[in-house]
Symmetry: C2
Subunit: 536 residues, 2 copies
């Protein structure tokens, strides 16, 4: 794959070619402020930061003093502004545990949908308590705010999974851009970003539904939308007060979020089902994907020893460290029965049933492994980053989803014919073995994975280049107002034309009433004359 | 402006760089069939054809034996297949006259909206009579169909303003792509392409409304949608029978149109108001725009003689040849009063009031003139092609719209602050003069025109390259099914979730009924016991 950035022309000239710009239109040395979100979200934003620095922009990232992933010595260098917070790592760990419990306890029976949403509400409350400390750590910190004011930033990039980035941009008087994968039932994108989502074929995020729904599934979908909307509206109540206080005028979280110039959505049509969107939405899924680099020698030798059978790559992502001994043994015994060699990222105790064909690693170069020609399948928890690497390299998947959007992501890959799902809670060795044999031996899975890969690669501009293009666009033009739909200026009843429909209904009713009244008067008069004539 | 195509790298390599393709993914020598529409629409499709030929594709165009613009000796060469038809040029001329009359007689008073739509219905009927001959000329022509079958085409490109292209693609078993600017009230895009259009902020095409509407305008907008939908549905009736007959199964025109792989819409967000769309819609407005070439010597000298005042370019497009003597005199006397020199494309009799500053031309190199640094304003009928050339070069406009989408186009440019409108029917010399002075002397018009120009130029990939990218994508992948929304598989009541809402309403009603019934039984029983106790 030849990338435009691999080419050895001067960078500025390449930029001119790709973006059709004159020299004066190229932003040189922009100043970017990052409002990131921790965990796997950081991995995505890091890629954007690296590219921005590569393109000669200066990048400053805000990060809380208690952070999981946001390291203070990244390569290339980022200026960090530390936000002092009083919560500690154990608070975050318990929040993550709560989130995992929320899904693993309440999946997959639809009967528990109410309990699930109740727990989701609680989770959002806990998140609020942590998030508000981060906001206060900046907004009620005059020294830090003064430094940011003096920073001369051109744009702020925020992941709305952590609230307040937009508020800081408004306080600094600079435009802001969102980067996100989704919000539950697209509540943020729909209510604040104004994208329409016909519930008949756009499945609610987290619902595990596809765009092809039965009547029953469409009922489930509409209920999912209503419940998730309800939970968000409740959650937003507290934020609305906070936002109004900070901005000194009555406002809402959603109204403020709606001021985002561009929404960089971290999916694409290889993953997402086709759905309506607006011109200020850009789908940049897989922006972190890269061609595979050579593997460490020992790993390469292990892979080569698999011969024609090839290898299986297995990772449950960066958030899940280990499994129960029983579960680990169950998995290991299934893996021992396939002819492929297996590379398993696992930090827990070595399972007793581990076969000779399986090697455990604390960490694996996942993208390089998935891009290896001998890789036959990928056992994944279904995180978006991993799924995108599998799509990029055309590798079929066995999904073992656990929490957040993972079950939904695997539902997407299943619908596109590139994955088989096994339930982590109820699975047996036979289930996992059967799933693995299916994706490896049935050619349709590889073919579909390759089809998605071809779709992913065949874009006019690469996702990362598009993401950076829009960031630079906002810097060049101080926003992207020409892409902002007028829907933002309407109240909800105006947006749905309820006032117009109401007025027209009143007009029609009045017209009908008048016609009936006229007929009544006419017949009354005609009747009287008739009676009079009869009497005469 | 540096274009990627101006660069002297080998074409294939440039394609690899721009579209991030491996060598095997590049379509070499595809075979494209064109189903064009005559008049100014042909000018747009011609640009795409030229680019396709430049990229080594073979292009065959179908054209009726009675054609206005589609010349049989284009440069570069196109293979033509002539469709024999019995109507003659006078039939087309009378249709165009009918269309002009329709607008000029019924604009701009809102009171004539009903008469306008009645006449529009008649116009569509006349169009049907001509269009059906073109369809029959291919579909009932076994020799021609056999030649097309043998042609081995990879894709058909159609402008749906002339119906039947989709039908021919289906008969040949090849994918097809639409290229269009609009359909009245976006009826085709909405009903057949499934794009949502919230009536509260998406103005109906031809309504001359913008995305910022008062309550009254929103009423007008909803009525425009309803009327245009009604007219289209009536018009489609005849086509539905024709399509069902040809395909040998009950179908509709709209269902068949909905099978388009990609919809290339000839507008962009420099012209259009931001509105929802779907991933298989690509906005390629201004794909024909090019940097200005040097002018003929005599013309350049005339322009240079204008000194600091500069020049005004004036054209009413390719369809309107001349004006009444009175109108021409009125215009000429207004032009005579400005300090600028004027280049007027006009084939009629030289007006008596023509000033020394004005020169008449049978034809002008419009794009080269608009791109000239001395050009201060453009007097235009508001055709999309001309408006896009003005946007491309950042020239403010005086709109003198006459028919079709011209009034609507000028309404867009007015809303974006780059044009002033004068009414061709009611204008006086003073009106035209005042409009010209406004756009030339008030800096906001030039600034807004330049802002639109910057937006137009600042795209990741040029419109023409994006159009060709999607045509080649469809050839490479035999379609673009991954972009097709599942809405196409739903009936209208399923799409609007009316079955689900109805079911949920019945459930709620039954639940309320059951609760009331239980309460009734409970109170009845409780009441009886009470009475019994009282009696005892």
């Amino acid at each position: 794959m030849v990338s435009i950035m691999d080419f050895t022309m001067p960078k500025k000239f390449v930029q001119m070619l790709v973006f059709n710009l004159t020299l004066t239109e190229i932003v040189l040395g922009g100043n970017v402020l990052i409002w990131p979100t921790d965990g796997s979200h950081w991995l995505n934003i890091k890629i954007i930061i690296e590219e921005l620095i590569q393109r000669n922009h200066s990048v400053t990232a805000l990060a809380s003093s208690t952070t999981l992933f946001i390291n203070s010595n990244p390569d290339p260098p980022v200026n960090f502004e530390v936000i002092p917070v009083s919560y500690n790592k154990s608070n975050i760990d318990s929040l993550i545990e709560h989130m995992i419990m929320l899904w693993t306890d309440h999946r997959p029976t639809p009967l528990t949908i109410w309990a699930f949403y109740k727990e989701l509400g609680k989770f959002l409350d806990a998140l609020f308590q942590i998030n508000i400390q981060i906001c206060d750590g900046v907004l009620n910190n005059p020294k830090l705010m003064a430094r940011l004011q003096k920073g001369g930033f051109d744009v702020l990039i925020a992941d709305p999974a952590t609230v307040c980035g937009d508020l800081i941009a408004l306080k600094l008087g600079i435009p802001f851009i969102y980067t996100l994968k989704f919000s539950p039932a697209s509540t943020v994108e729909r209510h604040c970003g104004k994208i329409p989502a016909p519930v008949s074929y756009v499945p609610a995020a987290l619902s595990e539904l596809t765009d092809q729904m039965t009547f029953g599934e469409r009922i489930k979908n509409i209920i999912s939308y209503c419940l998730q909307d309800y939970i968000f509206q409740s959650y937003w109540g507290e934020w609305n007060s906070y936002y109004s206080k900070i901005l000194g005028k009555p406002t809402t979280l959603c109204e403020t979020m709606g001021k985002a110039e561009i929404w960089l959505i971290r999916t694409f049509w290889d993953f997402e089902f086709p759905r309506p969107y607006l011109p200020n939405f850009e789908f940049v899924g897989g922006l972190h994907c890269k061609p595979a680099k050579p593997l460490p020698k020992e790993m390469e030798e292990f892979i080569q020893s698999s011969g024609k059978d090839g290898v299986v790559v297995f990772s449950l992502g960066s958030m899940v460290k280990n499994l129960t001994e029983e579960k680990a043994n169950l998995i290991a015994s299934a893996l021992a029965q396939i002819p492929q060699k297996v590379l398993w990222r696992y930090k827990g105790k070595k399972p007793a049933t581990l076969g000779n064909n399986t090697q455990l690693y604390d960490w694996i170069p996942q993208n390089d492994l998935l891009g290896h020609p001998k890789t036959k399948a990928f056992i994944t928890h279904g995180g978006t980053n991993g799924i995108y690497e599998a799509i990029y390299h055309g590798v079929p998947m066995v999904g073992v989803p656990m929490f957040a959007d993972q079950p939904d992501n695997i539902a997407h890959m299943k619908a596109k014919g590139a994955a088989v799902e096994v339930n982590i809670n109820t699975m047996t060795s036979v289930d996992l073995l059967s799933a693995l044999r299916t994706v490896i031996n049935e050619p349709s899975y590889k073919e579909n994975a390759m089809r998605l890969s071809r779709i992913h690669h065949d874009q006019p501009v690469k996702p990362l280049d598009r993401a950076v293009f829009w960031i630079e666009f906002v810097m060049r033009h101080k926003g992207a107002k020409h892409l902002r739909p007028a829907a933002h200026n309407l109240t909800w009843f105006q947006y749905h034309s309820l006032d117009v429909i109401g007025f027209l209904l009143v007009c029609v009713t009045m017209a009908i009433f008048l016609v009936i009244q006229c007929c009544f008067i006419f017949f009354q008069k005609f009747g009287k004359i008739g009676k009079k004539e009869k009497r005469e």
